[in-house]
Symmetry: C2
Subunit: 363 residues, 2 copies
């Protein structure tokens, strides 16, 4: 990728996403000498006082930020959300039970396919209809759990009106990879949420799981150790050597979110950035986003050009201006801008400015 | 940990292990701007040209260094060796088959317990006897595979005379976490080896799997995607978002090993460091290592003090001199010095000097 620009680079990658600069600068120092240990943050023992301290601090900050009730466990595990899409059915589905899934896009579909390896699945809602009408989900009374994906990163569909979830005794489970920490969340609506860290709170290769202790009691016994939530809870997420550096980076990210004003402020910013961008798209005849306003994603904003023969030129010119990673997932084509927590408002403004100029030139 | 010393710190952690300084310095720069992309190495897309290039280079360097035959696949996966201890039986063991395991210490035992979740296990050799007499292993003709752990990090037991492995058509599988890249290896003696990266070649949270394509054909079908070697082979290790930064660091480490002279040079160094240290122990009445010479580990060198009431003082004084992480695993007690690839000879010399002085003062 050639950079001909003099200006700042804004990276709209859907994950691994951007980091706040101050975290990168601190990490530069800690790579050489962490907390006066004389050794790199990469090489401190996961059993050392220094690591246990940073791990505890990360957990406490996450609990504070999300207002996680005391009866919910917090896990930091290897891998990303795809591992969790397997661990959830491995722990809570069995040959004799049934799970409900809501299918609102690419990642919902993948979670469903994964779960089918473990037991019987019933899809209780699909597409935009399901995303727009949470109260319409009819959950089977005997379902082991109901699974949903509140943000679909590729489709650009998102719902967060969780107060409209149907009343039910069935545990509610959500893949919150893109939503987590981007706004306030009433966690009591869920019994388990999981998230890959590489969007709103850290690097790739780490996932967060927050689960209700009551749900944990229902977990299948005699699971392979690495698949068992109970094993990881008992070991405080250090059953085996954890991804120590990733954990450290997430800890720094959580501190940053707190300093910025917590989830109320993240929510204000994510809404402001998204509205600004959709407003521009909606007033343009050159770019288009087809998702109904009520379920447009704040985090991943897909759009197409009027003439898709201009796609390649658009991406090349954007890249020259330091606006990178604007192509959507290979499965769908078109463009996508991801505005995760560390994307400043200035990045969105720079993107809109570029798009205006491009439109002027090629409309 | 308070550092009262003016001298360099040497970190003898058994993993996450130390990195060569030049890699840390390069990583400092790449954290801000990787390869002129204008964005951090943490935030480049795993689908970008830059990442695909670094991933391919890492794979090629590993293939060159270990002289990996073309019919062996190379995978870089989430998690550490503990995940692999589950993936191996998940892929190759079934209700109707039997696997052979050799139990030479702590990690062998854990691998056996993990495998018991998936099928029937027969332990065909145990303890020092098994480590000292590879040709004595009697492998069941119908075993799905035979699994061994050539280096036991906690016990300090290691064997590498793989030319003495019994002739057999049964696939040989090894946890090479500590051994890999520390010396030359005839990979054709094995059908699958796996290793956590955090010892001789990278950070924690990443593992390497090298497997014979013929063995892969025998893998169980209809596995959960994240558990399936075939899925990861088909996706070239990018089925889901990989641990991109960890992969980058491992790539840098592989380049470093190559520049140092490859595995012949790593083997010379690891032998030199270990012999120097054991020679000192064997000439001391104050420190002791009880492992028979033939199976002493080059990588993890456990020792005890004559009087274990001095343990705490020993660790405190060592730490003041910048010699850190010398306590052995919490399961066993005593001391342990790990000499992985990035531990310079000077570190071993500094440790011996300190131990001499400590002995003089407290003998």
């Amino acid at each position: 990728m050639v950079n001909l620009k003099n200006n700042k680079t804004y990276n709209f990658c859907a994950g691994p996403a951007v980091f706040p600069e101050e975290i990168l600068k601190k990490a530069q120092e800690d790579l050489i000498d962490y907390a006066n240990t004389g050794t790199s943050i990469l090489s401190i023992s996961h059993r050392s006082e220094e690591f246990i301290n940073l791990a505890d601090r990360a957990k406490k900050n996450l609990r504070d930020l999300l207002n996680i009730p005391e009866n919910y466990e917090i896990l930091f595990l290897h891998g990303g959300a795809s591992w969790q899409a397997a661990m959830v059915p491995a722990n809570f589905l069995s040959d004799n039970s049934l799970a409900n899934y809501v299918n609102t896009g690419h990642w919902s579909s993948k979670a469903i396919k994964e779960a089918e390896h473990f037991g019987k699945i019933k899809v209780i809602g699909s597409g935009l209809d399901a995303a727009m009408n949470l109260s319409g989900w009819v959950i089977d009374k005997k379902a082991a759990y109901c699974h949903c994906t509140p943000n679909e990163t590729i489709d650009g569909v998102e719902f967060d009106d969780f107060e409209n979830l149907p009343e039910s005794d069935v545990p509610m489970i959500a893949d919150m990879s893109s939503t987590i920490l981007s706004r306030e969340l009433d966690l009591t609506k869920f019994d388990l949420i999981y998230a890959g860290a590489q969007k709103n709170m850290g690097p790739s290769g780490l996932s967060v799981v927050i689960l209700n202790a009551e749900l944990l009691e229902r977990a299948n016994k005699n699971l392979s150790t690495m698949m068992s939530y109970q094993v990881h809870v008992d070991a405080d997420s250090i059953y085996n050597t954890p991804a120590t550096f990733s954990w450290y980076l997430m800890g720094e990210f959580l501190e940053w979110v707190k300093k910025q004003g917590g989830l109320a402020e993240m929510g204000r910013r994510s809404l402001e950035k998204a509205l600004m961008f959709y407003d521009y798209l909606d007033h343009s005849d050159f770019y288009k986003n087809n998702i109904p306003r009520a379920v447009r994603s704040r985090m991943n904003l897909p759009f197409v050009l009027k003439d898709n023969k201009l796609d390649k030129l658009f991406l090349t010119e954007a890249s020259k201006q330091g606006l990178i990673n604007l192509q959507n997932h290979r499965s769908t084509g078109g463009m996508r801008a991801s505005f995760y927590n560390a994307m400043p408002k200035e990045g969105v403004e720079a993107l809109i400015n570029f798009m205006k100029n491009f439109e002027k030139q090629y409309a």
